[in-house]
């Protein structure tokens, strides 16, 4: 093939955010077309666990390459609610990556949690739900959900719980986690401000003798502000993040949602 069709130069020929893979030409006159089952829809989520609450937040932009599909597509969901609006739910799931897989995963976990309630006559614990989510992800070990999930709620001691996952179900309980397109921007900020990494007690020594500041549980209002700061920073520097910020806050009283607009440029 001597002539390169202009469409092969467009961003849509890049397989990372399209169902179509780039056109390959293996021999002159022969073009190979392929379908990819995955796409990347951008966006970012984060979670922070407090003493008696967990906040999970995500932006609401959904994009394909340089195009914005919609400015309001939630990535943070209530799991195990009594109805479609999620009333009565106690667990929060956030997913980034491939939006269709994220939705499928949310639906599946939601029904699993409901089934648990019907069969056991009680709400599932966050710990059990976290394990259940891991098994769901691992069950698709060889055709994974293309999503990075975080799960949060209040644990059996009444303490904020947060779990983060890789694509195939490897998971860990953490204090805070940023996931998705702007994870690399947000995560070091959370290390610094939530776990007080690199912060030392002034005058407590020189060099490595300095005493590190111990991380203490943060106030809920303070954490809300950290989340807002993290996202307004990410919005400035990452094109896939923006439009709106959805914050779900789990406490012993259930889940409260706060929506605030983000820059739409």
């Amino acid at each position: 093939m001597a002539f390169i069709h202009p469409s092969s130069l467009l961003p849509s020929s890049n397989p990372s955010y399209s169902f179509r893979e780039g056109i390959k030409s293996s021999a002159p006159g022969i073009q190979e077309h392929r379908f990819s089952p995955y796409a990347d829809n951008g966006g970012s989520t984060l979670g922070i666990a407090g003493k008696d609450f967990t906040i999970i937040a995500g932006d609401t932009r959904q994009s394909s390459g340089y195009s914005i599909n919609t400015r309001y597509a939630p990535k943070v969901f209530r799991i195990g609610g009594d109805d479609d609006s999620g009333t009565g739910a106690k667990i929060i799931l956030a997913v980034t990556g491939f939006a269709a897989d994220g939705n499928a995963l949310k639906e599946r976990l939601d029904s699993m949690v409901k089934m648990y309630k019907y069969q056991h006559g009680k709400d599932i614990s966050v710990k059990a739900c976290a394990q259940r989510l891991a098994t769901i992800l691992y069950s698709k070990r060889f055709f994974p959900y293309y999503t990075q999930a975080i799960l949060g709620g209040i644990d059996e001691e009444g303490v904020g719980a947060l779990y983060s996952y890789d694509y195939v179900g490897s998971y860990e309980r953490e204090q805070c986690r940023a996931v998705g397109a702007a994870a690399s921007l947000i995560m070091p900020f959370l290390d610094n401000q939530v776990n007080l990494k690199n912060q030392y007690v002034p005058g407590s020594g020189v060099g490595h003798d300095l005493k590190a500041k111990a991380a203490e549980p943060l106030e809920q209002s303070h954490v809300e502000q950290l989340v807002r700061d993290a996202f307004s920073g990410a919005v400035e520097r990452h094109i896939e993040v923006g439009d709106g910020l959805q914050m779900l806050i789990a406490t012993k009283d259930g889940i409260r949602e706060i929506y605030t607009p983000l820059k739409r440029d």
């Binding site: 690399s184 921007l185 947000i186 070091p188 290390d191 610094n192 920073g233 990410a234 520097r237």
Partner: protein, 198 residues
């Protein structure tokens, strides 16, 4: 190889870099500064291919020395920025693999100045901060969240240090301590940050 960054404050600028030198995952040196001084208050940070970092820093040493001899004056950060830009663009089709950062104070106006470049000399005149290197993403995040306008010298030092250390701790290819320069009118303070040694 890891990253210098510079940020601007009130009548002051800061420029900092980590100290790691590596070949992909292999750490070669943990004492490899990437900031070079070209006048009483003009600094250049260089990231990228180590051989080019050394070549380019030496090239500017030569160019700035000649400038000083010919003009009998020190180069201003703005002039330095344009010199860097034109020198890089000379190699438009065989570039040096470096992403420079310039920081300094203009002695005539007293104004602080920072800017960054791509490898062929396109200048990014930023009013707040410039980041460069393997931890650029992380630095964008920390700087965007921690930076605020009109930071005084001491707060500027704290801000750039926290931003740099937190960022390189999330980058396997950067770290091993850092150098921080705080440039004020007629005063330059250089500090060594120990940082994580792993």
């Amino acid at each position: 190889m890891a990253n210098p960054m510079s940020i601007i404050g009130k009548n002051a600028v800061a420029i900092a870099c980590d100290l790691r030198l590596g070949l992909q995952a292999l750490t070669v040196s943990n004492d490899f500064p990437k900031i070079f001084q070209y006048g009483p208050d003009v600094f250049l940070g260089l990231t990228g291919l180590a051989t080019d970092v050394q070549t380019v820093s030496d090239l500017f040493r030569y160019k700035v020395n000649l400038y000083r001899l010919r003009e009998e004056r020190d180069i201003s950060p703005q002039t330095m920025a344009n010199l860097v830009s034109t020198s890089l663009y000379e190699k438009r089709f065989g570039p040096f693999f470096v992403n420079p950062v310039v920081a300094g104070i203009n002695r005539t106006t007293g104004e602080p100045f920072i800017c960054g470049f791509d490898s062929i000399g396109c200048i990014d005149f930023a009013k707040d901060f410039i980041v460069s290197g393997t931890s650029a993403d992380q630095l964008f995040g920390t700087c965007e969240a921690l930076w605020q306008p009109d930071l005084e010298a001491e707060d500027l030092f704290e801000t750039i240090s926290q931003a740099l250390l937190s960022a390189v701790d999330r980058d396997a290819l950067a770290g091993w301590g850092a150098h921080v320069y705080i440039v004020e009118k007629d005063k330059v303070t250089k500090r060594l940050l120990k940082g994580r040694q792993d």
